[in-house]
Symmetry: C3
Subunit: 159 residues, 3 copies
């Protein structure tokens, strides 16, 4: 892999930053981790493996992701909870014209506020395309491919 | 981030070493990963978010942590079990006067000896301050912020 | 640790590649991650701690591991499922004559096809010996030491 260590670290850190922004309830910081017309999609492995188009979340720009976060903050009604991300196995598996193809696994533990109970809420794979803008890595595309067919109850926060 | 790759690796390895020492039942090795007057604290996110001072463990030096480990070895009565740590998303988020501010997520699986059953026992965030003493990184402060309000049964080992 | 960063990265990537090959159902790619006479063994911590020889899987070469994968593909009958690996805390803890002693923790989530249910199937430690052949790192020995005494139902895929 001719990829410089510093670039690899920066890509890894981008993935970790996304996870930490969600876990620390700084959802408004997510959009800046995408390029302007960056795509963010959450879909099941089951659907993807069969070419089925249905996605749970699908935004095609920073602005659309921001809208979704605003809506979540002001309009959604849900039980208070937060997430804890485990992200592992970050690998750069290809590069084309300055865009890096990246894979990683994740598991998200969901902790309910009212009783403190926690459980693995979702696991899956990140299939990302990352490019550098002025030295800063951003997602050109972030596809979250979750393992289960259906997500237990409403998916409130991004994964 | 102007932090040299070697320093980042060393910090990461310090966090992994802490986890492995616990999982391999080498608890006596933990104190040497702190600086002499290093602080180790385990408290809930719930309490921290509300400014509540209660902590499950709070030691303020290597010696205090050693005392706690000795007490655990000789005096505590508990069912035999061990931990398995998953640590992810290690990030250096700041630096001041040679002390690095570090964040990471963790999940701890607890395995009971008598029936081999296992479950996620705790998840949360490490909020660490790390400094280098003669080239060796050590914890100036290790705050374990766990996600649940209460820890199921007695917390026996450090997290 | 005098180990060059590039070598450490390559070792880490080897461990991640193993996990991803299983999770993406590319089991045939595993054998090439071993050296020709590389050993792959899956045994419980319980047995290992007591010097008991019983292993769930024990292959002593690439060819033996390939046989096992072929048998799994054509002969085994089992309910459809897949794995999701979380690998963390990769550490090189020693080196002798160009062979690196490596440790890492893992947890494997198993997702059943028929109902999409998922649970932690296995957790444990990888105890690996890695060497470089023409610049490519491969397992000389991969010991998977799982935490529970018994593995729930049949272990179908490698861990």
């Amino acid at each position: 892999m001719p990829l410089a260590e510093a670039a690899l670290r920066a890509i890894e850190s981008l993935l970790f930053e996304w996870a930490r922004a969600i876990d620390e309830d700084r959802l408004e910081a997510l959009a800046d981790l995408l390029v302007e017309d960056g795509e963010y999609k959450v879909a099941s492995r089951y659907n993807l493996d069969r070419g089925l188009p249905l996605a749970v979340i699908h935004t095609r720009s920073r602005a659309q992701l921001r809208d979704r976060i605003v809506s979540l903050r002001v309009a959604n009604i849900y039980e208070a909870h937060h997430y804890r991300h485990l992200v592992s196995g970050v690998q750069v598996i290809g590069e084309e014209g300055g865009t890096y193809e990246v894979r990683a696994n994740y598991a998200v533990i969901r902790i309910m506020e009212h009783d403190g109970s926690s459980a693995i809420f979702s696991s899956g794979q990140y299939r990302d395309r990352v490019l550098f803008e002025g030295g800063t890595p951003r997602f050109r595309r972030r596809h979250v491919v979750f393992d289960s067919k259906a997500i237990d109850t409403l998916l409130v926060y991004p994964l």
